[in-house]
């Protein structure tokens, strides 16, 4: 006969359940409860601050009738562009850190980690000083080369530059770990059996480092789809991202229910993209732990 289910918690597993409690409480009150609040608030009548009213789909009608889809598409496009550019930039660098540099790899790692010590917004304002009219770039060109240029800010490429710059570590380090997992003899064996560099990359390196590629891409995607400062600080109001729409609803517009509904749509969308990608690329299978 199976012991009653509570035996599992109060028997030998008591210490285990007890030590899991802080984390459980944190997740419950710090993650699940606020999330449910947001979803529920999205169902409240517009421009109210009460949680105990009859639920309505009014806010969702507003979202689909107005042009919020534009900001969602902008966020999506910026995030996808950031992921693709970071993959192209980071893969060779990660490969060098993981397989080629010895001590140099650590130096690059520390240098990149150090940049994270400074707040993201301050670093972005640094770019503003660099790119504004008569800023570091424009001023240098004017003084020494007599070339007059206008401000380089407030356009889409500079927003993407900012995002690529800010999220680089989140792509680089998973890639380094992913590439480090490729056993050297496996690469040598492929080379030994006639494969050239490109074939080794396509048939060995890329598939075996896929876990790193996937984790890095998802991390950067999730972070950059919710990005707000890059578009605001570097992009002026050139593009409005969904995150900045949500912020507006909660602050200037004082329409918390609409903001909550937007958040709900946004979270659902991100989840769909992430889970679709995860199911498409089965991490376990990529690692060879499961048969096809």
């Amino acid at each position: 006969m199976n012991p009653p289910f509570w035996k599992k918690f109060f028997g030998p597993g008591l210490i285990g359940s007890l030590s899991a409690t802080p984390f459980l409480l944190l997740m419950l009150f710090g993650f699940v409860a606020p999330l449910l609040c947001v979803v529920w608030f999205g169902l409240m009548p517009p421009k109210t601050f009460e949680l105990l009213q009859a639920p309505t789909l009014e806010n969702y009608r507003t979202i689909f009738e107005q042009t919020y889809f534009k900001s969602i598409l902008w966020s999506l496009a910026l995030a996808v562009a950031t992921v693709i550019i970071l993959l192209i930039i980071c893969y060779p660098l990660a490969f060098a850190i993981a397989k080629i540099f010895r001590g140099g790899g650590y130096f690059i790692t520390y240098a990149i980690v150090t940049s994270l010590f400074v707040s993201e917004n301050i670093r972005l304002f640094g770019w503003v000083i660099g790119f504004m009219k008569n800023g570091v770039v424009g001023g240098t060109l004017a003084k020494y080369f007599d070339i007059q240029i206008d401000s380089l800010l407030y356009n889409i490429p500079v927003i993407i530059l900012g995002m690529v710059y800010v999220y680089l570590p989140f792509m680089l380090f998973p890639l380094v770990l992913g590439i480090k997992m490729i056993p050297d003899p496996v690469r040598e064996a492929a080379f030994d059996m006639g494969a050239n560099r490109w074939q080794v990359f396509r048939k060995i390196d890329l598939p075996l480092s896929m876990p790193g590629v996937m984790i890095g891409s998802l991390l950067v995607f999730v972070l950059s789809i919710g990005a707000i400062s890059e578009a605001k600080i570097l992009g002026g109001q050139k593009v409005v991202t969904i995150a900045s729409d949500i912020e507006t609803e909660f602050t200037y517009a004082q329409n918390w229910p609409l903001g909550s509904a937007l958040s709900t749509v946004f979270i659902a969308l991100t989840m769909v993209v992430v889970f679709l990608t995860l199911s498409r690329f089965d991490l376990e299978k990529l690692l060879g732990k499961k048969s096809s």
Binding site: P185, V186, A189, M193, G194, P207, L208, L286, K290, S292
Partner: protein
């Protein structure tokens, strides 16, 4: 065809490899005959892996020349050489099935899909892996022995002129290793490929090889057929490497006589007469465990010493005894099961002709 007269396929001339000041491989000369099973054997640190990596092209020799079928291949990258290596770790591709692993070299060469599959099936069958069961199996789910066979099938699919092996059997348990050794020899005979095997176990080398080269500190100590090396090891290093043998430290006194320096005790013994041996020269005396026997009372042998039997090990049809001559000096004796003795004190004897004088 007799392998011992086949032409050399690979010639190694004065190959040296230096890492900074350290000389890993020192001016090594040898050749491998077409179709033979050649084994490089040496303890760890003897430079055998470095030598192998130069032969397959993964390291560049500091000096010397490698010739494959008469053509210099020093500068040829591994993917341009018609040779292939089975790695110690096997280096199977973990993200591919058994079938795709075996097909990999053919895939690189651009062999047609259906031909590739047919050949992979043939190779799996040759290696006693049922192709219908294993073709779609993931390599990570295969057992150690199965993975060995997949690695060998993949190397054979490359159809190399020479197949190199870097101790692939070292991680396999003793029983399976014996089976796989014989299988490997079988495959070599069937495919008539040239195999060059690297191992630290002379026993393993003896079982499989047509010829064996023994490496010590980056240089070749002795090279020859297993028979030749077993019958006349060049020195004590080679003899000791062959496994359990008795090596006695002796100092020659007069022709046919010497003192055995057994842990501070000096015992006079008879040795084979060697006119080149000067009085006072220190040598090693090799006596195989099976050449030693317990004497019945009244029985006479070339040498006889009283000993104490301290241990007995049953090895199937034979029994091994550890006997103490003087405290701190033991000898190994191997007798047939029928000659088992239960005594604790005995007289140990051997014939002078059963002992060999070796340089230490």
């Amino acid at each position: 065809m007799d392998i011992s007269t086949a032409l050399p396929i690979l010639e190694v001339k004065g190959i040296t490899k230096r890492f900074g000041k350290f000389v890993a491989v020192d001016n090594v000369d040898f050749f491998i005959r077409d179709g033979e099973f050649f084994t490089l054997v040496g303890p760890s640190g003897s430079g055998k892996t470095t030598l192998l990596r130069m032969l397959v092209g993964m390291e560049k020799p500091s000096s010397g020349e490698l010739k494959l079928r008469g053509n210099r291949i020093n500068e040829l990258a591994p993917n341009k050489r018609p040779t292939c290596m089975v790695f110690q770790s096997l280096a199977l591709f973990p993200h591919m099935t058994v079938g795709k692993n075996v097909e990999f070299p053919m895939n690189i060469r651009g062999v047609k899909d259906s031909d590739r599959r047919t050949r992979a099936m043939e190779l799996l069958t040759l290696l006693h892996l049922n192709p219908y069961r294993y073709y779609d199996k993931n390599v990570t789910q295969c057992s150690g022995g199965e993975r060995q066979r997949v690695a060998l099938a993949r190397a054979l699919a490359y159809d190399p002129d020479i197949l190199f092996f870097d101790e692939p059997l070292s991680a396999i348990d003793a029983q399976l290793r014996k089976v796989l050794q014989k299988e490997l020899k079988d495959i070599q005979r069937q495919t008539r490929k040239t195999f060059c095997y690297v191992t630290h176990s002379l026993e393993e080398a003896m079982v499989m090889s047509d010829r064996v080269a023994i490496l010590r500190a980056g240089a070749i100590e002795q090279i020859g057929t297993p028979d030749k090396i077993y019958a006349s090891p060049k020195n004590a290093f080679v003899a000791e490497f062959m496994g359990e043998v008795n090596l006695l430290s002796i100092v020659a006194t007069e022709p046919g006589k010497a003192t055995w320096e057994a842990n501070l005790n000096r015992l006079p013994i008879h040795i084979p007469v060697d006119p080149t041996l000067e009085s006072g020269a220190a040598r090693k005396l090799l006596i195989r465990p099976e050449s030693l026997r317990f004497l019945a009372s009244g029985e006479v042998a070339g040498n006889s010493i009283p000993v104490r039997i301290i241990n007995e090990f049953l090895l199937g049809s034979r029994i091994q005894y550890h006997v103490e001559v003087v405290p701190g000096c033991n000898l190994t004796v191997e007798r047939l099961r029928e000659e088992r003795t239960t005594a604790t004190e005995a007289t140990l004897g051997w014939e002078i002709t059963d002992s060999q004088i070796l340089e230490s």
